[in-house]
Subunit: 267 residues, 2 copies
């Protein structure tokens, strides 16, 4: 008997992603799960330039002790609002990228069905997001509130270490995960034989790094063949993802989490 399909709800609440406008940023890790699943969501800061972003700013009010629905305050975007999913049918508001992804993925069919696989998917997502944070820190190693131009020297050292030590360490790790799962995942999936939120998260990191460090990526691609020749390109052909990447909803990289400063790339 075949294993049962992961449960996927047929009707969905109005998921509302609250994040900064115009950049993919950390919001993109959430968007990719919805897009791969074909499940609608709203993204007010990008959909309504006048009235959308104030909704995001409101949840990050530096004096808030929580909202009227009983949710604790938000530290920073992204956040997800889900009408009816809170206590006593109120709105749920949750923050932290991995928390949001882990919450929605099983509901939209993007989490492995098996509990052990799900623990490993979570492990891989968290490891991918660690690399995402380190990529951010290559252009902001000193202070998130200062301009890059005010921390260029430190960025240069940080980016060198990132390229020479951290990229090989993380890429070797995910290459080995793909290799270990090759029989089931054909080099396309990190866990099992289906797309999961581990894949969407790691793919977004690799794609962001292609934007930020194009020369470094080009120079590394033969070292990690499953990653570069199978996983990375085949993801772009997945149902839901192909349409999304060609759509206007897929925001362009610019001055967000992943940034291209030629002086930080391989020379």
């Amino acid at each position: 008997m075949a294993a049962p399909e992961p449960k996927r709800q047929r009707t969905h609440p109005n998921y509302e992603l609250l994040y900064h406008p115009t950049i993919p940023g950390r919001g993109e890790y959430v968007r990719l799960v919805f897009e791969a699943a074909g499940v609608p969501y709203s993204d007010p800061a990008n959909e309504d330039q006048n009235n959308g972003y104030p909704k995001v700013q409101a949840i990050c009010d530096a004096n808030s002790t929580g909202d009227e629905e009983g949710n604790p305050p938000a530290f920073a975007p992204p956040a997800l609002r889900v009408p009816g999913a809170g206590k006593d049918g109120k709105s749920l508001l949750i923050c932290q990228t991995p928390n949001i992804v882990e919450y929605i993925a099983p509901k939209v069919g993007l989490a492995p069905a098996d509990e052990v696989d799900r623990l490993h998917a979570n492990q891989l997502m968290l490891t991918a997001l660690d690399m995402s944070n380190e990529a951010h820190d290559t252009h902001h190693p000193v202070a998130v509130m200062l301009y890059y131009e005010d921390q260029k020297e430190e960025s240069s050292r940080k980016a060198k270490d990132f390229r020479e030590s951290r990229i090989p360490k993380f890429f070797s790790y995910f290459e080995r995960v793909l290799k270990g799962n090759k029989q089931l995942g054909k080099g396309k999936y990190l866990i099992g034989d289906k797309l999961s939120y581990a894949d969407t998260t790691w793919w977004q990191v690799v794609d962001g790094l292609h934007f930020a460090f194009p020369k470094e990526m080009e120079a590394r691609k033969k070292e990690f063949p499953l990653l570069f020749a199978t996983f990375y390109p085949s993801f772009k052909e997945e149902k839901g993802i192909k349409e999304y990447l060609a759509s206007e909803r897929r925001l362009k990289y610019s001055m967000g989490l992943y940034r291209h400063y030629p002086e930080l790339d391989r020379q």
Copy 2:
């Protein structure tokens, strides 16, 4: 009718925490959950200096594509091994601090019973661990593999920003969470009226910062009264925790995640 107690297993598997010896580090976020719950665990690197650490090193083999039990490779400690909890009764091996904590907390009675509360506990743990990472980066802003002495100038700038911008931002956030939950949690708990893994994680961050930045903490304590006068001291009196903090199992801070360099503290 009173709400049901969170389910807590009466018998437990032999939980094995695999982490570096001698330092609290990220392993401490896992230890505190077991200790607060009174659930036994083994910590081989600290219990058996000769044969323990090789077990930790073995799981981080840079060529591994996974183990014989079907677990993917580990990126870095901490890891948790749970005999019998993997597929087909094999051993489960999972990594990533928040993944491990989120896995064990409900099994040992340290997670909120309500699902919404659990999502918020997860959010708070992840936010606390973000601050933990930033605290680490105050002494390693450039490269984790270099000595502090090789990145002292960058550390000085990073620590200044951490003290002046990040400590107020994170502490204000958690003070407001305590305030929002005050009626239920009496300023002692972040979520609801019981100790949870959100509390153990955030307390360990605050405690680590007391070691790393004692002058800064002393200067800040009146700004965050619930945090410093209620939450922080009352946690030390919790059942399981009081005994643990007085025991030899509680490792001393030294040259790990939290480090005391007087020149990085408030002058």
